[in-house]
Each structure stands twice: as C-alpha cells, then as structure tokens.
Amino acid sequence: MQVHSGPTTRAVSCLTVAALIITACTAGTASPAGGTPGATGGTPAATAGTGDFKVALIVSDKCDDHSWGQAHCSGAQTGAANTGANLVIAEEVVTPQDVTQQGTAFANQGFNLIVVANGGVPQAVHQLALDFPNVMFCQHGSPMTGNVVDYPPNLCTYLVQFQDGSFVAGALAGYLTETGKVATIGGFDFSVINLQMEAFRLGARYVNPSVQSNTLVINDLYDVSKGYAAATAQYAAGADFIFSGTDQATVGFMKAAEEAGPGQYVVATMWDSNFLSPTTVITSATFNLDGATQRIIEMAARGDLENRHYPFGPEYGSLEITPYYGLASVVPDDVDRKVKEISAAIATGKLVVPIMTTANDSEDFDISTLPPPPQ
C-alpha cells in the first residue's frame, strides 16, 4: 500500500544504499584480488586471434574443471592458436534452449565454426545447422550419432572412442584389485558416461573374470560432497578402484580414497588429475580429448570438415591413459606390460571394445567372444 512519498531524498538514499551493498557484494569479495578488478576480469576464455576465421566453442562445463570442460577448452585454444583463428568460448551452456540461443548469437555474429561440446543437445544443434546454412556446426558427445543419416551440408558430429581408454584403465584395475571389486560412479545415467563406465567394468572382468563391479549415479557432475559420499559408499561396499564418470565431483572420490586408507584408488577421466591427489589417482584416462577438438578446428580452418560423423579412435589417442607418476611402484612391471599389450591389441584392431551405452550392459557381455587376455 505504502508507496514511498518523499521521492527525491529517500529514493536517492535507497539507490545509494542499494548500489553500495550490491557493489560491496561484488567488489567487496573481489577487492582482495589485488589491483583493479577490471584487469583480472575480462575474458580469459576468449583468446584473441588475428585471423578472419572465427571459431566458437559452446561447452556444458567450465574451462577449469579438470575434466570435460577443460579438455575441450584447452583443445580449442591450441587449435585456434595453431590456425590463427579467433576463438570465443561460451562456458556452462547446458539446456537445449540455451544452446539454441547461444548458437544463434554466434551465428549472427559471423562465426564460421561452432563446436558444441554437449552430448545432450543433438536435436538443437541439428536445428541450428538447418537455420544457419552458412555456418559449420560440429557436435561432440552423443554416442551413435554416427548412425544418424540426415546430415545437412554444414553439420558434423565427432566422438572420441571413450570405450578404448576406459577399457585399458579397467584392465589395469582388474589386474591390481585386491578386493576383487571395482566400481564406477557416474554423474548421470547418460549414454556418453555409460560408454566409459561399462567399458571400464568390462576391461576389469576381461583380465580377471572373477572381478565384481557395480555402478551408481549421483545426479550431479560437480557436487564434491555427493562424490565423497558416493565414493565412501563404494569403498565401504568393498571396491578398491573407482572410475569417475563425473566432472569435478571426482575430487570427492579422491578425498574418500584418502580417508579409506592405502590401497584405495581413483581412476580419473578426461584430464590428467594425478596432481590433485598423487596418492590415490592411479591414472587418468584422458583419451586425448583435447586433441580431438583441436583437430576438428584445424580441419575446419583448412576447409576439410565434411558433413559426417568423425570417430576419434586409437590412431588419435583414444587409448591414452596417463603414467602412474608416484604410484608406479604399485603397478608391477608384469601388469604394466600386459596393459600395454591390451592397448596394442586395441590399436591394431585385434581387440574391439564393444559399445555399451546402457548401465550394466557389460554384465551381459560374453567375454569369451574377445581374444584371450595376455598371459
């Protein structure tokens, strides 16, 4: 009822107070940054380039997540640097509607290539490609989009063969597990995540048929507390190797592994994460994810990008797992050799890791159809 009536004085004071408070909330917390906020602000994501070729990356995560987001951003930055392209990154664009808006905005600003690193939005990207025939779109992260027939001339999809590196990491865990149990923890029940987790479980069973494994989801990719609770649950249930199908929540796994005592390990994914917890991250399956995005940008800059699906297999590093760093002593030479042999078998095509995109698919897979594991 009461609309304040002494307009000038009170309104001005209100404005001042509100401005003070809210700038205090922003600048106040920011001021210890040292120097002018504007200097630290700006756009770390936007790498200045000189070329006329303009590349946009729309990614579902943040560029510093030590996982999916960081691999894509880093690959895109290298690709842009190598080709002299002008790169702008839009981080944390998750929903289909937001991808559509963001893609439209980039297209309207004359970008030549728009890479969408988000497995959940193939329809949105397809529609964008139809709406903007002069802009090249390339989407990453949906398994089996290779089967999609309808590619407009300006749409491509690519997918790193996550199953390869995950399988190798699984084999490592299968050899090393002492409890005979390995586990996976996923952010969501998404096919691109299941693709990795099921291959890991299969890899463990492949080298050691008595290994038991299971999987759970935490309904969040970032929540470290939930990651901690879930990993604690898995270690308590007897697993000693946990494969991460999450992004930043993996930090919670490491904390749980550190607490659960020696002999509990984490297999990180997408980004070399050993430095986060040198005593628990036995390896990170990186799949050379950044290299794939870099390659897409370089191909586009050369004008070689076609309207089809690009799989990035072993020849592009999909088998890549990082060294064991300080945990090398945990891995006997014998095991290391066998793991490398499995890796070589996949690289030469002798061993083809099946594509499994539904949770628990690996349990039904008949491992006798695969060539026998190295002795």
Binding site: M1, P7, A11, G41, E92, N108, G120, T358
Partner: protein, 352 residues
C-alpha cells in the same frame, strides 16, 4: 486469537495493485538496475554501453532474433501466469518448474503411447495431457495447503526436485539410450510456424490466449473474485462466499495447468521429445515475470517479453565478449530485487 503462520499469510492482506507506482519510484528502480548492471559489466571488463547495445541487437536485431525472443517469451508467459494466479490468492507457488516438467512428462508419454492417432489429433491430445499433468502436480501443494495447512513454499520447492528426477527416469525408460532424450514424437506432431523465416510457432499465440483468459478469469468470473478475495484474506473470501480451501486448490491447479502447458509446448514444438535440462529456469523466472507484471495477467505478456530480451540478449553478450550466460540471470534478479526494494510491488500484512 493465535493465528498460525499459514492463516496469518492468508488473513487480511492486500496486494498493492490498486495504485500505480509513483513515477519517481519506477524511474529510480530502472535507473539503479541499469547502474548496477553497468557496474557488473565494468567488473567483468566490458564497456557497459557496448554490452547493452550487444544485448539489444542480439534480442531484437533481426526478424529471426525477434522470432527467437518471442519463442522464449512463450514459456515465460505461461510460467508467469503459473505464479500470478496463486499469488493473487497469496499462495506462493514457486513450483512452476516442477509443474512444467510434470506437463512435459505426461505430454511426451501420451505422445509416445498413442502413436497411431493422426498427427493433428495427437498434437491436441499431447497439449491437453500436458495441461492435466501440470494441474495434477499443482494439485499436490493445493490439497496439502487446503486440507492440512502445509506451507506451500517448501512443498513446491521439493516437488521441483522430485519432478526433475522423474523426468530423468522417463528419459531413461522411454529413450533408446542414444542421447539424453526420450524417443522423438511421431513425425508431424508439431505446431505450425506462424512467422516464416523465424522459429516462432503457434504456441506463442496460445500463450497469449491463455494470458487473456486468465485475465478474464481473475477479473470477471466468480472464481476469479474468490481467488482475489482470498488474496485479501481468508475472512474476505468467506464473506464473499468462498471456502478458502477450495480457492487454494483451484488456484494451484490452474497455475499448475499453465506451467504444464508450457512444458507440453516445449515438448511438442521445440524439442519433439523430453530432453534432460529442458527448462532453462523457466519456473523461477516466472516468479520474476509475475512480480514485474504486478500480478496482472495481461501485463505478464510484456513482462515475459522483457525477460526474454534479457536472456536472448545475454547469449549475444557471450558471443561478443565471452562472458558467462549467467550474466543475464544476474540482470533479471537485480532488476526484480530493485523493483521490490522500491516497493513497486507491495504486500500488506495484518497487525500482529
């Protein structure tokens, strides 16, 4: 004498709609919102003028952009109404997000079940079932409020979380596990484009019609009188001849139906399936829309358009300067907070 919390909230109280806000108050809130947004841009290292211009151009710079902005306006009108109608009865429905997902879930389930129906019929059935789904999800807080005086804020917020998890389940169970989506609806199940060359579809007209219908409902029908009377307090509603409990149920069901329709439109006309993360915070933005519209069902249309301009324009800001899309959420929240602080939307409470 001892009134409970809920009774207190619904007893003699009034929403300051009968009086237009004073011009200085409006001006000050708009100016201060602009100033604070500019401060944020400066902190992020942008020239505020460039930034504002980029936003405007992104949202209204071309026919396609306008069409897209109107497409985003569509669900915001409906979630705005999902707030306006219960708010008018002083019932805080912050559950439009959940009702949106409930509508989308039911709509896609019906669409995937009755595939043999002719597309036109199936479109209508899908929309209708979406409305019913949203209404059913709204019925839960309505009933709990009416029967057991349960605080509706907590209930609707918790139901939001539950609905999102349910949507994930439906996507898993009704998808072929190819992507983060259910199977697509049968071909031809879509709303027609009403502005060629843009993505604008019939859903926009539908949303406008619902807004007009809601205005008529609130202002010209006995039920609307009852809802508004409940907003003046339970005693007022009873004097006007209504049972407050029935009003609570009706307001929540109608509000939920509006949000459910938004979910159905997104399923049928935009995604052709139920996909993960389908709502870009439409539910909570709806609360902001309702407040800026000062709980007037017709004013919801321009208010929703205003927020769509900020959202779509925000995307252009990212394209131009690489800052996060979340900047547009800051602007929305800042603007509405200032509207509240300048008492452009006020509520009157009983003496205690």
């Amino acid at each position: 004498m001892k009134a409970t919390f809920n009774a207190a909230l619904s007893s003699a109280s009034r929403i300051g709609l009968n009086r237009m806000p004073s011009a200085p108050a409006v001006a000050m809130s708009v100016v201060s919102a602009l100033v604070l947004t500019a401060v944020m841009f400066v902190i992020l290292g942008l020239n505020p003028l460039d930034a504002f211009w980029a936003m405007l151009r992104g949202a209204l710079g071309s026919n396609y952009a306008i069409g897209q902005t109107l497409t985003v306006t569509t669900p915001l009108i409906l979630t705005g109404l999902a707030a306006v109608i219960p708010f008018s009865a002083r019932l805080w429905n912050v559950g439009a997000e959940g009702q949106f997902y409930a509508g989308a879930i039911v709509s896609v389930l019906v669409g995937l079940t009755f595939v043999e129906l002719p597309p036109l019929v199936l479109v209508i059935v899908c929309m209708a079932s979406g409305v019913l789904g949203g209404a059913a999800w709204g019925l839960i807080p309505g009933l709990l409020k009416a029967v057991a005086s349960v605080n509706e804020v907590i209930v609707t917020i918790m139901l939001n979380f539950v609905a999102v998890v349910m949507a994930d389940f439906v996507i898993r169970a009704w998808g072929e596990n190819i992507q983060q989506t259910t199977r697509p609806l049968p071909a031809g199940v879509d709303l027609p484009v009403i502005w060629p060359g843009t993505p604008l579809k019939l859903g926009f007209v539908l949303a406008i019609c619902v807004a007009i219908a809601s205005f008529v409902l609130l202002q010209r029908t006995p039920l609307g009188l009852g809802i508004r009377a409940a907003g003046f307090g339970g005693r007022a509603a009873r004097l006007a001849g209504f049972k407050p409990s029935l009003i609570a149920i009706a307001a929540f069901v109608i509000g939920g139906a509006c949000a459910g329709l938004a979910g159905a439109i997104l399923v049928v006309a935009v995604n052709h399936a139920l996909v993960t993360h389908m709502s870009a915070s439409y539910g909570l933005t709806g609360v902001a829309v309702a407040l800026v519209a000062r709980l007037n069902a017709l004013a919801v249309i321009p208010a929703a358009f205003f927020f769509a301009v900020i959202t779509v324009g925000g995307a252009n800001l990212t394209a131009g300067f690489g800052i996060l899309t979340s900047a547009s959420y800051v602007i929305v929240a800042l603007f509405v907070t200032l509207l509240l602080a300048f008492r452009l939307v006020t509520f009157k409470y009983p003496e205690t």
